[in-house]
C-alpha cells in the first residue's frame, strides 16, 4: 500500500497530511508521541481513504501560538474538516487524538459519522491515577506505553536517546504535547458529564495492558456514550495501532462497516 505525504493549507496555515487508500474517507487523529503513517494505516486503507493530519507543532506541521489548550485544537480540527471538505466523516482517535475526537463529537455531533476512541485521554475517574509521561525516563515510559516494554517496537518508538535526526522534532512534539496535556493533565473535568451529547455510533478500543491510561478511563467513555461498545485488545498497551496493528484494524474496520 502506498501512502502520500503532502502539505495542505488550513485556515491560512500549513498542515502536514498523510493519506492513502480508496473508499469513503476516514479521519485519523494521532496521539502525542507517534505522528506519522503506520502499518496499521495501510490496513485501514485497504477499505477506506485514510487521512492523517498532523496536529500543529508535531512532525512537520508548524507550531501555532494560538493553540494553548484542547479547546483551541478542537477549533483547528474544524478547520481541517473544512479544508478537506468533510461535512460528516468517520473519525478514529488515539490517546490525545481520541480526546480530540470526543470533544469534537460532543460539540459538533453533526460532523461525526462513526466514532472510534482508542485508549483515549479526556475522561477523569476519581481515584484512577494518570501517570505523568513528562516525568518519565525512557525505560519507565516504555513500561507505561507497551504491554511488552522490551520489544524492538518499544525501543524504536521510545529510544533511550532519540537519533540525532529526530531530536528536534521530538522536542517540538514534547512542547506541542505539553501545551495540550500539562494542565489540566490529560483530561477535562467536565467532559464526562457532557458525553451524553455524542450522537455517533461509537466504538471504544482499549489495550488490555494500558498502564498509562488504565481501563476505568475507557469504561467511563462507555458509560457516558449511549449505545457504545468497548472492545479490549489483549497483549496490548496504550498504543493498539502500533502493538497489535492487525487486530486493531480488524476491530475498527468491522465496526465501521456497521
Amino acid at each position: 500500500m502506498s501512502s502520500k505525504e503532502e502539505t495542505i493549507r488550513v485556515a491560512g496555515k500549513d498542515v502536514q497530511l498523510f493519506s492513502g487508500g480508496d473508499g469513503p474517507p476516514l479521519l485519523y487523529f494521532h496521539g502525542a508521541g507517534v505522528y506519522w503513517w503506520l502499518p496499521a494505516h495501510d490496513r485501514l486503507a485497504a477499505r477506506r481513504r485514510v487521512l492523517v493530519p498532523v496536529h500543529p507543532g508535531f512532525g512537520r506541521s508548524p507550531a501555532r501560538e494560538e493553540i494553548e489548550s484542547m479547546d483551541d485544537l478542537v477549533f483547528h480540527a474544524l478547520d481541517v474538516l473544512d479544508a478537506l471538505r468533510l461535512d460528516r466523516v468517520d473519525v478514529v482517535g488515539l490517546s490525545l487524538g481520541g480526546w480530540l475526537a470526543a470533544e469534537l463529537a460532543v460539540r459538533h455531533p453533526a460532523r461525526i459519522g462513526r466514532l472510534v476512541l482508542v485508549d483515549a485521554a479526556g475522561t477523569r475517574v476519581p481515584g484512577v491515577e494518570r501517570p505523568d509521561l513528562f516525568l518519565c525516563p525512557p525505560p519507565k515510559a516504555r513500561e507505561l506505553l507497551f504491554a511488552d516494554p522490551t520489544s524492538a517496537l518499544a525501543t524504536s518508538v521510545v529510544p533511550d536517546v532519540p537519533p540525532p535526526d529526530r531530536v528536534e522534532t521530538a522536542l517540538r512534539g514534547r512542547e506541542a504535547a505539553a501545551r495540550l496535556l500539562w494542565n489540566p493533565h490529560v483530561q477535562y473535568r467536565k467532559l464526562t458529564s457532557r458525553l451524553g451529547r455524542v450522537k455517533a455510533p461509537t466504538l471504544i478500543v482499549w489495550g488490555a495492558q494500558d498502564r498509562l491510561l488504565p481501563l476505568p478511563l475507557g469504561e467511563a467513555y462507555q458509560r457516558g456514550i449511549a449505545g457504545s461498545t468497548l472492545t479490549l485488545i489483549e497483549h496490548c498497551g496504550h498504543l493498539p495501532p502500533l502493538e497489535q496493528p492487525e487486530r486493531f484494524a480488524d476491530v475498527v474496520l468491522k465496526f465501521l462497516a456497521g
Partner: protein, 376 residues
Amino acid sequence: MQFVCFHLMPWPYLPDDFEAKHESAWLTVPNSLYDPRRGHALYQQYLDELVAAEDLGFDVIGVNEHHQNAYGLMPSPNIMASALIQRTKRIKVLVLGNALPLYDHPQRVAEELAMLDVLSAGRLIAGMVVGLGVEAFSYEVNPTFVRERYREAHELIIRAWTEPGPFHFEGKHYDFRWVNVWPRPLQQPHPPIILPADSDEGLEIAASRRVPTGSAYRSSRRVRAVFDRYRELAGKHGWTPGPEHCHLVRHVYVAETNARAREEAEPHLDYFWQKLLSYHRGSMALMGQSAPPRPARIEKADDLPLYELDFDLCQREGLTIIGDPDYVVREIQAQARELGVGVLVGLFQFGSLPHPLAQKNIRLFGEKVLPSLKRG
C-alpha cells in the same frame, strides 16, 4: 564591592544512602524525611547565622525560594524576610525569589514585597526568578507558558508599584481589572530589582530592563561568558552595566588554614552537590532523555551535571572559594576583576554544614576577609 550573606536553608539530615534509594531531592522526595521538630531548631540557627552578618559588616542578607525539596526550606522567602527584618536594623534584605510564573496572582507578590519594604523602612531588594523546570510540576504550571507569565507578571508588579491605582492590567495570562496595591513600597520609584539569568532569553530581559543579573554554580569561564553576553545585550539597549549589576553566587568557607578549611567544608559540599542537587538526574528525565554517560576524562566543571562535581574541580574552576583568609581575599579579588563582578552572593552555610561551623565561617569572613576587601 558589596557582600551578601545568602542562605538556602537546606535540610541537612538526609540519610547517607539517600542517593541509592531516591531519584531526587526534589518533587518526589518523600516529606516523611522532614522532621518538623528538628526543622524548628534549624530555622532558629539559620536565622541566627543571617542576623549575625549585620554586625560583621555585610551589606545584605538574602533568602531564596524553592518548592517541594530538601535543597531549600523556604517555599515562601517573604516569611523569612519578615522575620529577618524584625531582628535587624540597617542591613538590606534580598529576596531571591519570588518565582513569578508559579503564581496565578502576582498581585500578591507585589503586595507582600511592598509590605516588606515598608516594614523594613526601605531595606528590600526584590529578586524575580523564573523557577526551575521541576517546579512546573510542583505547582502544575504549564512550562510552555512560563516565560510569558514571567514577563507579564514582572510588568504587572512594576506597574503596580509605580502607577497610581486603581488601574486595569490587561494581559494574556493575567487580566486584573483592579490593580491597586495597598501599601505601596517605600523606596521610590520602587525597590531595587535583580533578575538572575543563565539563558540568552533571561539575559535579554535583564538587559532590556536595565536591572542587575546574577549567575550561580558556574565555572568562572562560563560566568565570564554569561556576563559578557549581558554587557553586550545591554550595549544594544544603549547602556553599560557596571560591576554592581553583576551578582555572583559562590560557596565561601574561611578557616585558619587551607587544609583545615577543606577538611571542615568538603563533606558538606559533597552533600550539597550529590544529595541536594540530585534533581538534575530527574531533570534529564523531564526532557525525555537518559543522563549522558560520564566522560572518561573530566576537563571542565561545565561538562558535568552538578551532582557529579567534586571539591578539587570546584576550587580549580572557581565555583567554590574555600581556604584561609589570605586565599579567600585573593580569590575573590581575582574573580571580581576577571568577571567584572561587583556583588558577591556568598553561601556561608551549605549542604549539611553544621551551625557552629557556619557561625565560625561567617565570623572569620567578617573579621579577616571583609576588611581587606572593603579597603580594596
